[in-house]
Symmetry: D3
Subunit: 131 residues, 6 copies
């Protein structure tokens, strides 16, 4: 196992491990494209996410923004809403981040993201929110 | 002047005022669509940006993510890289936010955003970065 | 209740009320992000849709175009195909609007939108179309 | 010259001829991809735009919506704002169509489209708008 | 039946016939928008796909790239992964094409496409891949 | 210099070196985000492009498709049209690849890509095409 892979794994562990949603996707693809999982750990986590200069939670806020802007990427939104919570962003912070996308990405993308956030919160028994 | 407009203006002032790039766009459109400027202040700033629950800098990180994910929105990227700096995100934080989009939005959108960031930094005499 | 909210509600009522699809989304989100529903009524309907200068049906045609161009926004397409019918656009007008997107947005987005239109028509007992 | 091409040309003539902006693009490409111009006339205009069931101006409103939703297609926005005017949509109708995209496509795409609209209006000596 | 339609049908037959997924979509839409199926055969296959200058498999690789770049077009990805196999692209070629999109379109779109590819491979009893 | 970087550089050399357009972008960014250039060589070229299972030219056709589907990424389209030619795709193959995107990505994105292709061909004295 190389240094980048180790650093990526360590970073994922720091954020509560790969999410279940994410693990399921990569497990399914392991027999036809095993390198995708390796690239995700080495590049997305080892090379990029583990960089210094921006804390873990802030990185997840940027990622939420990117995913809302892209559209049509529901499984990744689910995974990163989970990761954002794991990285210490409170549920209300996730909600505010999604609302903040409204003037730039419009209602359709924001409603879709918020619906996913609600499902993640419900799965994690975070509802009702007490803030 | 209504309460939402006032709150929006106050928020913009808190972030160093509307950026020059942004002011130029709205000034140009004032004779055919003056309500766009009003909607931006009232809705984007008064209703959304001025909400509690997420600090100003974090909101700008989300917006940078959304804009990189959308693509093709260079003038707004320029405006919000400026606003992010005004909101207290250090230049290296802006750079890291843009790099963090790489695994999700790909090289083309990230290179385009970083090129704009460099121009904003140069205009503000922030180069070379000493960190 | 403020003036913008009232104007937005009146506009929605004029178009046959909020669609069932739309109501379901906002109801689901009412416990975590109630302001989204308020923003939709105040801003999307009160500030924007209720403006003069373009009739209700034409506004829905523009919205259908935007949603097809965006892609990945099926629930909103369903809601606005319904609203277009409520605003007086005949089913064939909706079909023609979707076909008109073909040279600009390509077959995938148009096929996806037409499939949703057919489902809305079937739900409203509009099939077979007799024109 | 085949029937579809003739029908497409007739349709373009009905809308005041191919716009200058559009003609320039196709002329430039005539030596490497002459079929693109033919496909545009035959398919986009002869097969699609010339269909019955939706009037010319309404078709242009749908197209404006699609182009704003797509983003990054400035030359076509310029061409179709011109065509919309030629098809009888008044300048204020074009402005309202672009504003109507705001809740769905967000400020960046709308500001970009409105800036192009203003340039088209200025080129055609339509400013100041008297309505 | 016109020449373009015949040429399009011939092209589809050469690629193993319209895929089941694609046929299902067009059959469903036959009562409200029969011209969409005709346009697909005449324009997408007769005018464009049947052109010389690039072989059938290479055309499908381009299409896979476009669909991954667009995002949110799962049914078409499924149809064209099937068509790519029919056109002689080996399963590993399809996998490599999808992986090649990674640096440009990012992980979310690539994971989504690969998940669809795996399903197509499984449906066609191509798993495990022996290469 | 690590093995992935070397493999990426070798791959770029095999394709005629980094293009001038691409070099210019990375040179400009070298003082604020030098890792972007390293990631491009290591990841985009060393990890992905240099893989076996699909030849160099086919990989560039996929990339052209992705870039046309994404939209708003002109500098990268210019770089990869150049790289496609370097990888042995003839100019007519590039033209056909771009036309093949028409039914899926629509006229605006295809016209924009073809305009860039023409400029690249002109810069390389490939016009008039004799085929």
């Amino acid at each position: 196992m190389n240094e980048r892979y180790e650093r990526g794994l360590a970073r994922q562990r720091e954020m509560g491990g790969a999410t279940a949603a994410r693990a399921r996707v990569y497990d399914t693809l392991a027999d036809i494209a095993p390198d995708l999982q390796r690239f995700a750990v080495e590049f997305a986590y080892g090379d990029v996410h583990a960089r210094s200069g921006l804390d873990m939670g802030s990185r997840e806020l940027v990622i939420l923004g990117v995913l809302i802007g892209l559209g049509g990427v529901e499984p990744q939104l689910e995974a990163h809403i989970t990761t954002a919570l794991n990285a210490g962003v409170p549920p209300t912070g996730v909600i505010e981040a999604i609302i903040q996308a409204l003037p730039y990405a419009g209602f359709p993308r924001v409603l879709s993201a918020m619906t996913i956030a609600r499902r993640v919160f419900a799965d994690r028994k975070l509802l009702p929110l007490n803030n």
